[in-house]
């Protein structure tokens, strides 16, 4: 099994949810994140004082997937998240040892 993590632009969340749903993904976890990549931050002005704001708001999406589905799932997320502009984010996956569905106690692929 794999844990796929995507850091994306907040306004792309709905598109990604839609795409994952069409792919057959039943559930995901979303959290608000902030950070920067190569685009760094942006500038804000308050009463003439300029502030460089390093950390840009992002959305972190986490999805668990079967090994067989993982690559395709990543492609689904990437194509839904892409705007081809700077700051589109990143997607990665890591191996997962075990997964348990809390309600039933099912383990492994059955718990996905």
């Amino acid at each position: 099994m794999k844990l796929i993590t995507a850091i994306v632009k907040p306004y792309k969340l709905d598109d990604i949810k839609e795409a994952l749903h069409s792919f057959g993904i039943q559930g995901l976890t979303v959290s608000e994140a902030s950070g920067y990549g190569r685009q760094r931050g942006h500038t804000e002005v308050y009463r003439g004082a300029e502030y460089t704001v390093d950390l840009v708001p992002k959305i972190r999406i986490e999805v668990l997937a079967d090994d067989d589905d993982a690559e395709e799932l990543i492609n689904v997320i990437v194509s839904a998240a892409r705007t081809e502009k700077i700051g589109d984010g990143k997607v990665w996956s890591v191996p997962v040892d075990s997964v348990v569905r809390v309600r039933t106690g099912e383990r492994g692929a059955d718990a996905l």
Binding site: S31, V45, Y46, R47, G48, A49, Y51, V53
Partner: protein, 448 residues
Amino acid sequence: MASAITTLAADTPTLSAANTGFMLICSALVMLMTPGLAFFYGGMVRVKSSLNMLMMSFVSLGIVTILWVLYGFSLAFGTDSGSVIGWNSDYVGLSGIGLTELWDGYTIPVYVFAVFQLMFAVITPALISGALADRVKFSAWVLFTALWVSVVYFPVAHWVWGAGGWLFKLGVIDFAGGTAVHINAGAAALGVILVIGKRVGFKKDPMRPHSLPLVMLGAGLLWFGWFGFNAGSWLGNDDGVGAVMFVNTQVATAAAMLAWLAYEKLRHGSFTTLGAASGAVAGLVAITPAGGCVSPLGAIAVGAIAGVLCAMAVGLKYKFGYDDSLDVVGVHLVGGVAGSLLIGLFATGGVQSDAKGLFYGGGFEQLGKQAVGVFSVLAYSLVVSAIMAFLIDRTMGMRVAEDVEVSGIDQAEHAETAYDFSGAGGGISARPAASHAPVAAANKKVDA
């Protein structure tokens, strides 16, 4: 209803129900300005010190009200002695005042005048607090407020508005508090910050407003309440001057907001909400002394000049390195000085008094008087406030510890957090509080 209205010109004024009702409403409007100011300032600080900022304004409603009833009204508006201070034992505790006893020369009861003026005394020290954001012990602030109104505000209000006060006798025009309120508070703010110093991270860390909507809400409440502050300062409206003041308040504020926005668009590239709110307040400040002696077109000039001057002045703190956190000096001192001096240029001689400004053929006479008013109040308030801050700092300490300031003054001084975001990841602290054994026990159960 015309029979109920008595004119100021009448030899013996009688009580006017219309003016009394109007003035009670104006008093409530001015009261609302202090919570409005709390929001205006509270939104401008970082979230970790937003409650402290709100409280610094709000507590003034408590402290100053009590002091005003006990002795403040008597010091400011009692019988003059030496043109510097008043005293009237009937006013002590507001206990010797007759129900229908009229304020001398006017058609409203003394009680109404006392409560209207109280609201001015409440908001003036609250204005200072914006310069002291994030870093002053609440107990020290409470003491400072009590001392400051007693030694600075009550006497200065007497100088400017009290019958027999020396600036009043000199002919300095201050319709609603450009000198007594705004220059007074702005100069005090400068005096205190020169003593207590900068916030940790000033000019290094980003200190962004945590809630601009709150700032806009506060500016809106200030603008609304300011109609009572300004139009009410004529203590009735038998001759139409109060209505002119009302109109000029709206006009100057509009002009100042637009002027600030235009300035920052040209200078920094954007129309900001903070700029709109700040410009409006700058206009309100500037028209406060001047609104009773200028025409509506003059009010546009006063507002526009103040809007640009204040927008330029807020940058000075970075140049000179003093931490006027929320620009009390840049907006209230500069705006108050601008409005007070512009009387000397734009007074038409046809509204509040027959004194004419330079542009209306009055020469430099009124401008000179205004300058005396401005600089005497500025100097007195600056010096006395600095001494006061120094003494408090040397005894009980003005500032919180550096680690408290960095982690946030709200939790240390008020044991509260402004916004509960536990739905997004907070929740019950797993760390047991040493002094609360039952809570610790409960948490232990959760952990197990």
